[in-house]
């Protein structure tokens, strides 16, 4: 009887305690949210700025572009040729040598450059490794010439078909395809004319590497724009926390039974709520400006949301070494730049430098930056339509990296800001 009452009491006091813990954190979180939303500056840097950037870029980079001058093309020539009156025609080979010989510019005094460098292979299976093959060889386009290619060219009534495979995300694919299709049209036209017919039709079937078509530079930039808004959260997290120190309100909190974890938790929670708003607003804008996404917005949002936690951690780390809010926000702006720039690496085609590998999954040097992990993952999800299981390694890496940052932040804040002062 008594014992039961005792355990009941114990239970009650435990739940009450948990309640208090939450209440403390929530109250601080609410405080920070009020401070954040009452400061107009924050709304400008964290939401308006990336939104304007995104709208601007959406208008400029809404189409594919390429900086490449020569394209690497992989050709699988399955053409078995066609024999007519003892003469065997192999138009597949002719097409290949045409591709190999076309150069530009034709102007005098300049060395001509090949438009295509042709690599040939006999067998080609489009599998999940395609993407890797592409990456490794820097291929821009794969051309598959069908078995009946020569026969079809001979048969004037039938469309001449080839298949191309490529990665539309690169932009280079789009350009190489454009170049190829004009050469291809020309080739078929010339051959048929020489055989005594008019040009006829050519058909190119496009095959994507698990990818939706029509990817633009803008599409590649979208994760960057959403992420820059979140990266800017470093500025407000660090300055709000340093302000707390500078204005001595931190001392007031320090004297209460509140613990570091409540303070950090409250601030991190506030940041998460802000990030949620940013993610929704910025993705909505990207959609309005023609973001070609086939993947799950929810998964992409979750990835960026988790990444945002590491941004609050970086803010805390900066706050732990800053004495003035103005200094904290300057440091934050400087730190934010590389974090932001790295989100454009896929656009610039900068490749990952591996740091270590686990079961064939590569963890790159830049992956210690959560923005890099998140950008790559969001691209995988939104453009290649990958799911959580496809990006499991990166997802877990992001969580681990974020936890590491958070731990460092909590430790530094409690050591450098919440201990009795020496001065």
């Amino acid at each position: 009887m008594d014992e039961k009452k005792n355990t009941q009491n114990k239970f009650f006091s435990i739940t009450q305690n948990i309640g208090y813990e939450f209440r403390t954190t929530l109250k601080l979180s609410l405080k920070y949210l009020k401070e954040i939303f009452r400061s107009k500056l924050f709304l400008i840097i964290a939401v308006a700025l990336p939104a304007v950037l995104m709208i601007f870029m959406g208008v400029i980079f809404g189409g594919p572009i390429s900086a490449v001058q020569s394209f690497n093309i992989l050709v699988i020539n399955e053409d078995i040729g066609y024999t007519n009156d003892t003469i065997t025609y192999t138009f597949g080979d002719s097409l290949i040598s045409t591709l190999e010989t076309i150069t530009y510019p034709i102007e005098e005094g300049e060395d001509p450059i090949n438009i295509f460098y042709v690599y040939e292979t006999d067998e080609y299976n489009q599998s999940t490794e395609d993407y890797l093959i592409y990456e490794e060889h820097g291929l821009h386009l794969t051309l598959i010439i069908p078995e009946n290619f020569s026969e079809v060219i001979f048969n004037f009534d039938i469309d001449v078909k080839v298949t191309v495979v490529g990665d539309p995300v690169t932009g280079d694919y789009q350009s190489s395809l454009t170049a190829f299709s004009s050469i291809y049209d020309e080739f078929v036209g010339v051959v048929r004319l020489s055989l005594g017919d008019d040009a006829g039709h050519t058909v190119i079937t496009e095959n994507y590497l698990d990818i939706v078509g029509n990817t633009t530079i803008f599409d590649l930039m979208v994760p960057g724009f959403v992420i820059i808004g979140i990266v800017m959260n470093i500025v407000f997290v660090s300055s709000i926390l340093t302000e707390e120190y500078e204005q001595k309100t931190l001392e007031k909190l320090q004297l209460t039974p509140m613990r570091t974890i409540h303070l950090i938790g409250g601030l991190a929670l506030a940041q998460l709520l802000v990030a949620l708003v940013q993610i929704i607003v910025l993705f909505a804008i990207s959609l309005a400006f023609g973001y070609n996404a086939i993947g799950s917005y929810i998964l992409a949002g979750i990835i960026i949301w988790i990444m945002s936690l590491s941004m609050s951690a970086i803010g805390m780390i900066i706050a732990s070494v800053s004495k003035k809010a103005t200094i904290a926000s300057s440091i934050s702006s400087v730190v934010a730049i590389p974090l932001y720039m790295i989100t454009f690496f896929p656009v610039w085609g900068i490749e990952a430098i591996p740091m270590f590998q686990i079961n064939g999954n590569v963890f790159g040097v830049f992956d210690i930056l959560p923005t890099n992990l998140a950008t790559n993952m969001v691209n995988q999800v939104m453009i290649y339509g990958q799911t959580l299981s496809d990006i499991g390694f990166e997802f877990v890496s992001l969580i681990i990296v974020t936890l590491i940052y958070l731990t460092i932040g909590v430790v530094l804040i409690s050591l450098l800001k919440l201990r009795p002062k020496k001065e």
Partner: protein, 337 residues
């Protein structure tokens, strides 16, 4: 005020009596700085104890070390050496139990500018785990007492200086601490609020053995409010006793401070001592300090002696017998407010 009025405790001795709530043993705080050769001895070997339930006044000129001492007591500043004991136990800055019983109102105001008066108080109150309903009642009560009710929805940054000080005060008291440390809280308050605070503190201390440590430049308040007063200068406790005893021992009579126009030596001091009856004369830096009963009547006589010696008196300051005279006779300085 339950503390007894018996005379006790001289500087330099640690007193370990059962009723003591805070005990300080050889506490030191030396600040070193690059541009100064010598360390600033802000608190220089203090030993004293503060009893449970008493109001302890801390007097001292600017830079005496009052704030430094209080910040060490609440655990915000790390002492260079020495001990601080709360009810016999070493101060543990992480003890949540201890934190709940200590209230600190800093000399410099601190609050969240972007929050309203009410939000500031409810944030702090929540940190002390006060249930919502009770917290609301306490805040309303405090706001009323501090004449802030009509401003409770104002952003703290929009308050006047005096209101800010009142908010600062309320933030240190919302959790009804057992031990309240107040650093210069009477500064910048209008008489109305000052009176409220005075009554509040008296009332507060009379209940449940609550202890108050207060620094102030306002002698009359410290005099009438405190059970005991410690006089601090250059980090050392010059005297510690009840206001009555202090006045009897150190501050008998009024004090005349004469500012002399040029350098002078002990001969002028002894001349005055001999020529004027019932005075005790001392050289205190550039001033001559004369302790005597009924000083006003003696001013012309004293001035004559000084002038006869070939000096001019630039200024005369008269302080009637009070804690201030004790202060001046101990430190040779006036309190600057």
């Amino acid at each position: 005020m339950t503390a007894s009025k018996e005379i006790e405790t001289q500087e330099g001795e640690a007193v370990r009596d059962i009723g003591s709530s805070i005990e300080v043993v050889d506490l030191k705080k030396h600040f070193t700085s690059k541009n100064l050769d010598e360390a600033v001895k802000a608190v220089d070997g203090l030993s004293f104890s503060i009893r449970k339930g008493e109001i302890f006044g801390l007097l001292g000129p600017n830079g005496a070390g009052k704030t430094t001492l209080i910040r060490m007591l609440v655990g915000l500043l790390k002492p260079s050496s020495g001990q601080i004991l709360f009810n016999g136990e070493e101060l543990n800055v992480n003890s949540s139990k201890l934190k709940s019983v200590i209230g600190y109102v800093p000399q410099e105001t601190a609050f969240w500018k972007e929050l309203t008066v009410y939000e500031n108080l409810s944030t702090i109150g929540t940190m002390y785990k006060i249930p919502n309903k009770e917290l609301k009642e306490r805040i309303d009560h405090l706001l009323e007492g501090l004449y802030l009710t009509e401003h409770k929805k104002k952003l703290a940054s929009k308050l006047s200086g005096g209101m800010q000080r009142r908010l600062n005060l309320a933030m240190g008291m919302v959790h009804h601490p057992q031990i309240l440390l107040l650093d210069e809280v009477f500064v910048g308050l209008d008489p109305q609020t000052r009176n409220y605070l005075y009554d509040y503190l008296r009332d507060f201390a009379s209940k449940d053995d609550k202890t108050i440590i207060i620094t102030s430049h306002l002698m009359e308040i410290v005099d009438s409010l405190s059970d005991r007063v410690g006089i601090l200068d250059l980090g050392k406790m010059l005297a510690l006793d009840t206001p009555e005893n202090l006045k009897n021992t150190h501050g008998k009579g009024d004090i005349l401070l004469l500012e002399i126009d040029k350098e002078f030596d002990e001969s002028l001091v002894s001349k005055i001592d001999k020529s004027v009856t019932d005075v005790s004369v001392e050289k205190k830096e550039q001033n001559i300090s004369i302790k005597t009963l009924n000083a006003i009547a003696k001013i012309p006589e004293i001035l004559n002696v000084v002038e006869a010696e070939g000096y001019n008196v630039e200024d005369v300051k008269l302080t009637k017998q009070s804690l201030e005279t004790v202060f001046i006779s101990l430190t040779g300085k006036e309190l600057r407010v």
